[in-house]
Amino acid sequence: MPIVWYVVVSALVFCIGTYGVLTRRNPLVILLCLELMLNASNLALIAFARQHGNADGQIFAIIVLVVAACEVTIGLGLIVALYRRRLPIDVDQMNELQG
C-alpha cells in the first residue's frame, strides 16, 4: 500500500480534529479533538519515516506522545479547577473575558 494513503488518512484525521476544536463547546471534547490533531501528525511522521527509511520520524512521534500527555494533563487539571469553583465548563459561556 503506497505511503500516500497514510498521509491522506492523517490529513483527514487532522481536519476532523480541527473541525472539532472549532465547533465543539465542551472543553473535554475539545481536548479529545486536540489529541486527534496531534495523533494525525504522529501518523504522518511514522508514514514518512517509513518512506524515507530513517528513524527520525518515529523518534519524533514517541516524543510527541509524551508531550501530548502533558498537555492533556494540564488541560484536565484546569477543567477540574473550573469545575470545583462551579463555573460553567462550556467554552461559549466563558464570557468573563470579552471585549
Binding site: 498521509v7 492523517s10 487532522f14 480534529g17 480541527t18 476544536v21 472543553p27 475539545i30 481536548l31 486536540l34 490533531m37 496531534l38 494525525a40 501528525s41 504522518a44 511522521l45 508514514a47 514518512f48 518512506q51 524515507h52 530513517n54 527520525d56 520520524g57 523518534i59 519524533f60 516524543i63 510527541v64 508531550v67 502533558c70 498537555e71 494540564i74 488541560g75 487539571g77 484546569l78 477543567i79 479547577a81 473550573l82 469553583r85 463555573l87 467554552v91 466563558m94 468573563e96 473575558l97 470579552q98 471585549g99
Partner: protein, 510 residues
C-alpha cells in the same frame, strides 16, 4: 545516568557541559525551587523562594554572558548555542526576573504556591532557551511545549479568580491548536525533505527541485500558522487580548515579552535558516500577514479601556512590525528584529510594571481610569509609563524610534518598501491610543479616584479598599526599564552591536 550508558557500551552523544550550562542552571534551579517551596515556613516561601529564583536567573544570565562569542553545536546537532540564542535567551531571563519582582506581593504565587509558581516560571524560561537553540524539529517542538505548558498553568494560577482560570484554559486550547498545527506542518516538511534537521532541510531545499512541491508548501504554511499563533500574528491573534487580560499581570508582562522573543527567535532560525531557499514562496504570504497584523492590532487597540487589552492589541501590532524583519530574509532584517525584541522588553516591562502598581493602588483594575492624574500624584510611575508609551509609538529619543528606523531600513533595503509604509501608517493609528494613556496621566486632574470604585473584572483581586503604595520593587522595575528605554533611544550603539553579533549567527543570509 552517564555512567550507566557507559557501562551498557552505548555510545551517547558528546555533551558540551559548558554550552549547556545556562539550560542546566535553569532546570536545576526549577527543581530546587520546587523543593524549597515544600517547606511550610512562611518566611522561606515568601522570601527565600523568590530570592533563590532570582539567583538562578542571575546564574543563567551570567552563564549566558560567559558563553557569548562561544558558538557551539550541542547534543549531536540538536541544539546550537550562539549569540542569537544567547541574546534572546537573556531577554527572556530578564523578563522572568522582572516578573519575579512584580509577583513579590501579587496574589497569584500565594494562591498557587510559591514553589510551584516560580518553578513553573523557570521551566518556561528553560523551554525558551531550548526553543531558541533548536536545530531540529524534535528540539523545536520540545522547546515549544516546554515553553507553553507551564505558561498555561501560570496564566490560570490565580485560582480564586474566574478570569484567570478562563484565560488559562483558553490559552491552553488555542495554544495547543497552534502546537498541533505547527507539528503537522513539521511532519509535512519532514515528509517532503526527509530530514528533521534544519541543516538537512536546508540542504534538501538548496537543489531547488522542491520549490513548488505541494507537500512542502503546505508544511511551510502550517508551520508558519503554528508559529503565528504563538507570536499572535493576525488572523491567529484572537486569544491575545483575552489571555493578556485574564492572566495575573506579572505573568502577562512576562509572556508578552519573553514568548515573543522565543517565538520570533525560532521564526528567524527556521524561516531565515532552514527554509531560506523557499523564501520566494513564503515571503509574500508573510508580508501580507504582517500588513494585516499591523492594521488589525492597531485598529483593535483603539477602543480598549483596559490597559492590558490595549497592550495586547498593541503587541499584535508590534508582532506585525517584527514579522517584517523576519520576512525580508536579510542580515539587516535579522538584526532589526533582534534589536526590536530587545527594546520591546524595556518598553513593555515598564508599562506592565506601572499597571501592576496601579492595580494594587487604586482598585480600578487595569482600567485606564487608574492612570488619571498619575503625573501629579505619582510622577515616578508616570514617567516610565510615558516613556514606554512614547517608545511603543516610536517617538525619537526613545528606543522605539531606533527600533522602527532599523526595521524600516531593513524593509526598504529588502524590497518591501510598501510594507514599510504600512508600518508607518500603523504607527500613526497607534498614536491615538498610546497618547490617550499619556493624556490621562498628565492632562486630566486626579479627583479622588483612588479606591472609590469596586474592583473591575480584569484586575488582580487585591486591595480593593484604601490607597496603599504598591511596593518599592514595582517602582524600581518600572524606573529601570523606563530609563533603559530612554538611554537606548539616545545611545543605541551598545545594543545595536549586540544585535549585530546575534545577526551573524545565521549563515545562509546576506
Amino acid at each position: 545516568m552517564n555512567a550507566l550508558l557507559a557501562v551498557a557500551q552505548i555510545k551517547g552523544p558528546h555533551l558540551d557541559w559548558a554550552g549547556l550550562s545556562p539550560l542546566i542552571a535553569l532546570l536545576g534551579g526549577a527543581v530546587t525551587v520546587l523543593l524549597l517551596g515544600l517547606l511550610r515556613n512562611r518566611l522561606v516561601r515568601r522570601i527565600c523562594v523568590p530570592l533563590l529564583t532570582m539567583l538562578v536567573l542571575a546564574a543563567a544570565a551570567g552563564l549566558s554572558i560567559w558563553r557569548w562569542h562561544h558558538a557551539a553545536t550541542l547534543v549531536s546537532g540538536a541544539l546550537r548555542v550562539d549569540d542569537l540564542s544567547l541574546l534572546l535567551g537573556l531577554v527572556a531571563i530578564a523578563a522572568a526576573a522582572a516578573c519575579v519582582l512584580l509577583s513579590l506581593r501579587a496574589a497569584a504565587p500565594a494562591v498557587a504556591g510559591e514553589g510551584e509558581y516560580h518553578a513553573l516560571l523557570l521551566s518556561t524560561v528553560s523551554g525558551m532557551v531550548v526553543l531558541l537553540a533548536a536545530q531540529n524539529f524534535v528540539t523545536l517542538f520540545l522547546g515549544f511545549e516546554l515553553l507553553s505548558i507551564p505558561l498555561y498553568v501560570l496564566c490560570g494560577s490565580e485560582l480564586r479568580r474566574r478570569g484567570s482560570l478562563e484565560s488559562g484554559l483558553k490559552y491552553l486550547i488555542v495554544g495547543s491548536v497552534g502546537s498541533a498545527t505547527l507539528l503537522y506542518g513539521l511532519a509535512l516538511i519532514y515528509g517532503a525533505t526527509g530530514s528533521t534537521d534544519f541543516s538537512g532541510v536546508a540542504a534538501a531545499l538548496s537543489s531547488g527541485s522542491l520549490a513548488s512541491d505541494p507537500l512542502l508548501l503546505t508544511g511551510v504554511a502550517l508551520t508558519a500558522a503554528g508559529l503565528c499563533f504563538k507570536c499572535s500574528v493576525a488572523p491567529f491573534h484572537q486569544w491575545t487580548p483575552d489571555v493578556y487580560q485574564g492572566a495575573p499581570t506579572p505573568i502577562t508582562a512576562f509572556q508578552a515579552v519573553a514568548t515573543k522573543a522565543a517565538a520570533f527567535g525560532i521564526f528567524l532560525r527556521l524561516f531565515d535558516g532552514a527554509l531560506i531557499n523557499a523564501q520566494p514562496s513564503w515571503g509574500p504570504i508573510l508580508a501580507a500577514l504582517a500588513a494585516i497584523t499591523i492594521i488589525v492590532g492597531n485598529v483593535g487597540a483603539l477602543g480598549q479601556s483596559s490597559l492590558k487589552r490595549m497592550l495586547a492589541y498593541s503587541s499584535v501590532a508590534q508582532a506585525g512590525y517584527m514579522l517584517g524583519g523576519v520576512l525580508v530574509s536579510t542580515r539587516l532584517g535579522l538584526q532589526a528584529t533582534v534589536f526590536y525584541l530587545a527594546i520591546y522588553l524595556f518598553m513593555n516591562m515598564a508599562a506592565f510594571a506601572v499597571i501592576v502598581a496601579r492595580e494594587r493602588e487604586t482598585g480600578e483594575g487595569d482600567d485606564i481610569a487608574g492612570m488619571v492624574g498619575l503625573g501629579s500624584s505619582r510622577p515616578l510611575l508616570a514617567w516610565p509609563m510615558t516613556l514606554a508609551m512614547l517608545s511603543l509609538a516610536g517617538i525619537p529619543a526613545t528606543a522605539g524610534f531606533i527600533g522602527k528606523v532599523y526595521l524600516i531600513d531593513a524593509l526598504v533595503d529588502g524590497g518591501y518598501a510598501w510594507l514599510a509604509v504600512v508600518l508607518v501608517v500603523g504607527s500613526m493609528i497607534s498614536l491615538a491610543y498610546y497618547l490617550r494613556v499619556v493624556a490621562a496621566m498628565w492632562m486630566r486632574p486626579s479627583a479622588g479616584v483612588a479606591g472609590a470604585r469596586p474592583i473591575m473584572a480584569g484586575g488582580s483581586a487585591e486591595a480593593p479598599t484604601a490607597t496603599r503604595l504598591s511596593g518599592l520593587e514595582v517602582s524600581v522595575v518600572a524606573a529601570l526599564f523606563g530609563a533603559a528605554t530612554l538611554v537606548f533611544g539616545i545611545v543605541p550603539s551598545p545594543l545595536l552591536s549586540l544585535a549585530r553579533d546575534a545577526g551573524k549567527a545565521l549563515t545562509g543570509i546576506f
